[in-house]
């Protein structure tokens, strides 16, 4: 088993937390994990890309090859399209539907949504609604983790465990709200 994920979004949207949640869950299941992150200049409101590879055997490259990703998982619709070349023809694209507009030439949102829905396996997630229902406006990224859950080679239970570990320092309330966002994301 080998599962490659391209995670993307805009610096500050919590892409690394999405990666950490899934990577930790895979670690809990004793799978091999490689996770390549972006630090430094690009984190300042720029396009952010992280490669996450999960396998039951040794992983060599930190980078996912083009046309090989089983999933593109994005916090932002425009960014999900930017890395489509990584996706396998039968792969799935999951993106938050809400745009993050910090550039003056952001395209018409409906055309971005249209282009995404033309991809064979694509899912747009209303993360705002889920975050609201989970009573944590900052849980949009966990809604995305939840939406990815049923495709990932890890159990929902492991994702729960991972989130409990990662958010432990922030208190029980935050853990609970993030778990709720994952469940709501998983239910769509």
């Amino acid at each position: 088993m080998k599962y490659d994920i391209i995670l993307c979004g805009v610096g500050g949207q919590g892409v690394l937390s999405v990666a950490a949640a899934i990577a930790t869950a895979a670690g809990i299941e004793d799978l091999h994990v490689r996770q390549s992150e972006v630090h430094g200049m690009a984190q300042r409101g720029g396009a952010v890309l992280s490669h996450l590879r999960i396998s039951d055997s040794e992983i060599y490259s930190d980078l996912v090859p083009q046309g090989s990703a089983d999933m593109v998982l994005s916090m932002e619709p425009l960014e999900s399209l930017r890395y489509i070349s990584f996706l396998k023809p039968e792969g799935v694209l999951i993106s938050a539907q809400e745009p993050f507009i910090n550039i003056s030439n952001y395209p018409e949102l409906s055309s971005i949504h249209d282009q995404i829905s033309k991809i064979d396996n694509s899912v747009l997630v209303n993360t705002e609604k889920i975050a609201k229902a989970a009573q944590n406006p900052r849980a949009a990224n966990m809604a995305i983790v939840g939406a990815a859950g049923k495709y990932l080679p890890v159990k929902m239970e492991s994702l729960h465990k991972a989130v409990s570990i990662l958010f432990k320092n922030k208190g029980e309330d935050i853990v609970k709200k993030n778990l709720s966002a994952i469940d709501l994301g998983g239910a769509i």
């Binding site: 390549s36 630090h39 300042r44 409101g45 046309g67």
Partner: protein, 534 residues
């Protein structure tokens, strides 16, 4: 034996601690920063080792030399271009009789994710005549530290670890070994081997050339350089992450390639010859400059067919990927979904919302727009993002500290209205000496030190000294008190800041304007820490 999921940088840090270092010094710079951050994290938990940021890479390197002089193991860390700053200390340190192991972890940035060039630090190791290790995954990054310190103490030379962004910033699980004890403090036994006076330096140079032979022997027999002879038609030489990408595609190869992986330098020439005499063609896959390939080719004609970056079979620029090396192995690109993403608008990094630099650039921009001739020399830091739209104020960005000195040169060439823009940490790093030059010659420059009280770009490390001392330093050096202004970097003061800058540009001498406001990210980080601690 414990397992951790660590970044390559963190694996280097933990490896150094487990190899028994007493101290570490460095200057922040992407992608090397997390080495020191992790050491500081370990220090916070266990009280050891000493893990300090320095004013710049040169001071860091020299501090490390001092630790080594006292017989203790020490790590010094910086990014590739940082080694340029430390190069004086570095080159000379190769001639010293190193007793306490001295290892430098240098992180290169192929692809220039967060840097101004793609220089390959392996050249520096070759230049200085020191050994260099190149780990290809996180486990090796951990394991290499112990071996590097042993080699440093065995051959009495500094040893380089060359990292690249993709290893520094990738996470994987590693297994650790028991921690070694620190060395006792023992002064270098022969101080004559630490004094590079010409007569003594000649002896040290002679000795270093002798060590070249030992280094070569090490390299030839080391398990870091592994040769596997299979196919007689094609042999592959990989180094660093090139190995990962070569193996990534291996399920698609129709041939069982002969393979030499180079993980330490100087180059194992015997093993290379063995491979070359076994195979008709060699493919060289290395991250960065074609350093190995260039040495293989030399100048004179040769019988072996060599494919790599110089032959144009692998891209000469940017980062290696599993995709960029496919064609040299005869593999076609993988099937992709048809979609042209080149039409999508780019999303370059930008100043954070509410960043104080934004307000400073706005008043500079207004003043500049009314001048017939002007120059804004800038520097390396967050404020460099002001060069991109919509601000587009900085006009030069070269290297740490160059803003002030380039401004001086342009002003002395007769240019009017020359400004230098740099941050507080960059000022302490290497702006200070430039200011000395300006005052010495009473250059007509207006220097703006954008004081946000932190090293912003690399994630908010503390500035080496409280930045409110910059004013006192300038006074002490001799900038005229009437031409030093500490102002608020805030849009409410926009009009008066515009007027102030105009006045100072009209002054024919050194002016220093310090717009002050805390970095918005640093401010948030501080609040979060306070909240956690309460």
């Amino acid at each position: 034996m414990e397992t951790y999921a660590l970044l390559g940088d963190e694996a280097i840090a933990l490896g150094a601690v487990d190899a028994g270092i007493s101290a570490a010094y460095g200057y922040p710079g992407t992608p090397s920063t997390e080495i020191m951050e992790y050491l500081q994290h370990i220090n916070k938990e266990t009280g050891k080792p000493l893990a300090r940021w320095s004013a710049n890479e040169k001071t860091a390197y020299e501090e490390a030399l001092g630790t080594s002089f006292y017989g203790k193991r020490v790590l010094v860390t910086m990014k590739h271009v940082g080694l340029n700053v430390a190069a004086d200390a570095f080159m000379n340190s190769a001639l010293l009789d190193i007793r306490g192991g001295l290892v430098l972890a240098i992180a290169d940035d192929p692809g220039m994710h967060s840097s101004q060039n793609e220089q390959d630090s392996r050249y520096y190791a070759d230049f200085a005549h020191i050994p260099c290790f190149e780990p290809f995954n996180q486990q090796e990054a951990y394991d290499v530290m112990s071996e590097a310190f042993e080699l440093s103490e065995k051959l009495h030379v500094p040893v380089m670890i060359r990292l690249v962004t993709r290893l520094s910033h990738s996470r994987a699980a590693i297994k650790t070994s028991p921690r070694k004890p620190e060395n006792p403090g023992i002064k270098a036994p022969d101080v004559k081997q630490w004094m590079l006076l010409p007569a003594l330096a000649r002896k040290q140079w002679h000795q270093l050339l002798g060590k070249d032979v030992q280094m070569k022997q090490f390299s030839e027999t080391s398990s870091w350089n592994s040769l596997e002879l299979n196919s007689k038609s094609v042999g592959v030489i990989t180094s660093g992450l090139g190995k990962n990408y070569f193996l990534e595609n291996s399920s698609e190869y129709t041939e069982n390639y002969s393979h030499l992986h180079i993980g330490c330098y100087p180059l194992p020439t015997d093993r290379i010859n063995k491979l070359a005499s076994h195979c008709e063609t060699l493919i060289v896959v290395e991250e960065g400059e074609p350093l190995i390939e260039k040495q293989l080719r030399g100048i004179l004609p040769q019988s072996t067919n060599i494919k790599g970056k110089l032959s144009g079979d692998i891209p000469r620029e940017g980062e290696l990927t599993p995709d960029t090396i496919r064609s040299v192995f005869g593999l076609s690109p993988k099937e992709q979904i048809t979609f042209d993403s080149s039409e999508l608008p780019g999303r370059p990094p930008q100043l954070c919302k509410g960043c104080p630099h934004d307000d400073t650039y706005k008043f500079i921009k207004e003043v500049v727009s009314e001048l017939s001739e002007s120059a804004v020399m800038s520097d390396i830091g967050c404020y460099a993002l002001g060069a991109l739209p919509p601000l587009q104020v900085p006009e030069t960005i070269v290297c740490m500290g160059a803003s002030i000195t380039m401004a001086k040169g342009a002003a002395e060439a007769g240019m009017d209205n020359v400004m230098a823009v740099l941050g507080d940490s960059t000022f302490f790093h290497s702006g200070l000496t430039g200011l000395v030059d300006c005052v010495a010659d009473n250059a007509s420059v207006t220097i703006l030190v954008l004081d946000n009280s932190t090293v912003g770009m690399t994630g908010g490390q503390e500035t080496i000294l409280p930045s409110d001392r910059i004013k006192q330093i300038a006074l002490g050096i001799g900038v005229h008190p009437d031409h030093i202004h500490v102002i608020d970097a805030h849009k409410k003061d926009h009009e008066q800041n515009v007027q102030l800058l105009k006045d100072e540009l009209a002054y024919k001498g050194v002016s220093l304007i310090i717009p002050v406001r805390e970095c918005i990210e640093y401010f948030r980080k501080k609040k979060r820490t306070e909240k956690k601690e309460n």
